[in-house]
């Protein structure tokens, strides 16, 4: 048993504490990235700034002014972090959720098709995996298609799905969700095939001696075994779903969603809008994956799999 009494006394070096845990290194990395970002922003925005000065016939602008000007452009090549932070603040906290200019409104649109597509994709992936492990015919006939489906670039197939579904009268949430499904079923199917096949021989033998049916073996042995695999592949599937939803918003010139913000941002050179949509997407992906991680922890704890 370890106890607090056995913890070694604190080191005199103040940095060892900072660098020993996980928070320390993370903070150091974040600071380094932000620093590099500012340097990059200044460097990338300088040519435009010099142009501006030239047109205004200003010469000998002091360096400090150049720096502050490059970090305050309206349409910078690379916006500085604080500009993005301000933009995000203005489009989230300071706008009504129902406003077309609210980033939360757009995130909500993308989120709903992400979740719908993820749900369908995960279900589809699990069902495919169950079919595949129980039938050689299904495995032989489905596996090549499943793998081939993922070799087609999503950007090529997304417009077709949207257009075809629109032609048959399905529009709005579902077509976008289909693209999320298309991307997210794959990791789940592959992960679940592996998981459902992972029980030890002796565990399968035990079921055999009880003359358990396939359904019983599935419920009482294979599925519990596959749970950790399921969560791992759901994390990948969720991130893929979000990408799918955003990609699904691009080709139709959708008016709402993070994809639409990216598209219109690049259309009008609104780099701040692009970056804040990107950051929002990353934040969304991170939160969703973290949420799955939380459910995973609770589920594995309930199953007695964590010690």
């Amino acid at each position: 048993m370890t106890s607090t009494a056995l913890t070694p006394s604190r080191s005199l070096n103040p940095f060892t504490g900072l660098l020993s845990g996980t928070t320390g290194p993370v903070i150091v990395v974040v600071i380094a990235i932000i620093g590099a970002w500012y340097i990059g922003a200044v460097a990338l925005n300088t040519p435009f700034q010099l142009d501006t000065y030239e047109r205004a016939d200003r010469t000998n602008v002091p360096f400090s002014e150049l720096v502050s000007d490059t970090l305050a452009q309206e349409r910078p090549v690379l916006p500085a972090p604080h500009q993005i932070a301000i933009e995000i603040w203005q489009t989230t906290a300071e706008k009504k959720i129902t406003s077309k200019r609210s980033l939360i409104y757009h995130s909500g649109i993308t989120l709903s098709s992400t979740l719908l597509g993820f749900l369908i994709g995960t279900t589809l992936g699990i069902l495919l995996a169950i079919g595949i492990i129980h039938s050689r015919v299904l495995e032989k006939s489905l596996m090549p298609w499943i793998i081939a489906s993922q070799t087609i670039p999503i950007l090529a197939i997304a417009p077709m799905i949207i257009v075809v579904l629109n032609a048959v009268g399905i529009s709005g949430l579902l077509p976008k969700a289909m693209i999320s499904t298309y991307l997210s079923f794959f990791p789940v199917a592959v992960g679940m095939v592996k998981g459902l096949r992972s029980p030890e021989v002796i565990d399968m033998d035990l079921m055999h001696t009880y003359s358990a049916t396939r359904v019983q073996t599935l419920w009482k042995l294979r599925l519990p075994y596959a749970v950790p695999f399921l969560f791992t592949s759901m994390k990948i599937g969720m991130a893929a779903s979000l990408v799918g939803a955003i990609v699904g918003e691009l080709p139709t010139g959708a008016v709402a969603g993070l994809g639409a913000r990216l598209l219109s941002g690049s259309y009008y050179g609104q780099t701040l809008q692009i970056w804040s949509a990107l950051i929002m997407a990353a934040f969304l992906a991170g939160s969703l994956v973290a949420l799955i991680g939380l459910v995973e922890k609770l589920a594995l704890k309930r199953m007695g799999m964590t010690r």
Binding site: E200, I202, D203, D205, L206, M207, H208, T209, Y210, S211, A212, Q216, K220, L221, P224, V227, M303, G304, M305, R307
Partner: protein, 279 residues
């Protein structure tokens, strides 16, 4: 001695045992060869064996002589490559489908996501027993292996020996007529082993179960068995079959008796002969 060889059907007069003389296991000229990457492994060769209802049969022999394989053939976990075998007069597969036996593996094979009680419940759920029946059997069999109070623990929270006892409780809970046990007490200390030997013997005497029991321990084999099968390896085959004339009611101190020591001596001679084949 029972002289039943060759007779497969009909009633048999058996003046040695009081139990009914039903043939539980009938193995004839059975062989099993594993085809492996580096050539065939003759795990079992030309096995002839009859086991009657109520027999307690121990299999003993050097490592790799096919004890586990033989048990697995009876349990329909391996298919023989030659010869014939019936369990309760039908094929092992049919016997398995009739849920004729309980199997205790060499390893505990508990499901890690199930508590001890839930592990014992597993076969009962598969058999479709009612909740109250399940709970009654769980409590009774956990008590039998001294695991009362550990119902809610997960397998990894138990010692290896406790896990093995839980797996025995799980097999007993099925209440099969035929109990197949592969070195069930191998991981236990001597005292617990003695205790469980006595428990098992009492259970066997009380319920007229048939037990096929693999062990590496001569005293254990002699103490428990009505019949001891000594196997030898390469190819795995029966070297000696010893019918024990010890009384069915036994206590641990029978191990000091001259009859006991005589049988133990014969088993040891058989084992030695088996080992000499290895050189």
């Amino acid at each position: 001695m029972t002289a039943l060889a060759g007779a497969k059907d009909t009633e048999m007069v058996d003046n040695h045992k009081s139990a009914s003389p039903d043939r539980v296991i009938d193995i004839e000229k059975l062989s099993l060869t594993f085809e492996t990457g580096d050539g065939p492994v003759h795990a079992l060769s030309d096995i002839d064996l009859k086991i009657e209802q109520g027999d307690f049969v121990s299999f003993i022999g050097p490592s790799g002589c096919g004890k586990t394989t033989l048990l697995r053939v009876i349990a329909d976990l391996e298919q023989p490559t030659a010869g014939s075998i019936t369990v309760n007069g039908v094929s092992p597969e049919e016997a398995r489908l009739n849920r004729a036996y309980g199997y205790v593996f060499q390893a505990a094979a508990l499901y890690s996501w199930r508590t001890i009680a839930k592990n014992v419940a597993l076969p009962l759920e598969i058999m479709g027993l009612s909740r109250s029946e399940r709970q009654e059997r769980i409590a009774r069999n956990l008590e039998l292996v001294n695991l009362t109070g550990f119902e809610k623990k997960y397998p990894w929270q138990l010692s290896g020996g406790m896990q093995q006892r839980a797996s025995i409780a799980r097999a007993l809970a099925v209440e099969p007529d035929l109990l197949l046990m592969d070195e069930p007490f191998g991981a236990l200390d001597e005292i617990v082993r003695d205790h469980l030997n006595e428990q098992l013997l009492q259970l066997w005497a009380k319920t007229s179960k048939t037990v096929a029991f693999v062990t590496h321990s001569i005293p254990e084999a002699v103490f428990l068995s009505t019949k001891i099968v000594v196997l030898c390896p390469r190819p795995g085959r029966i070297y000696d079959v010893i019918e024990s004339d010890l009384p069915r009611e036994r206590t641990l101190d029978i191990r000091e008796s001259p009859e006991f020591l005589k049988i133990a001596h014969r088993v040891r001679e058989g084992l030695k002969a088996g080992h000499s084949y290895e050189d």
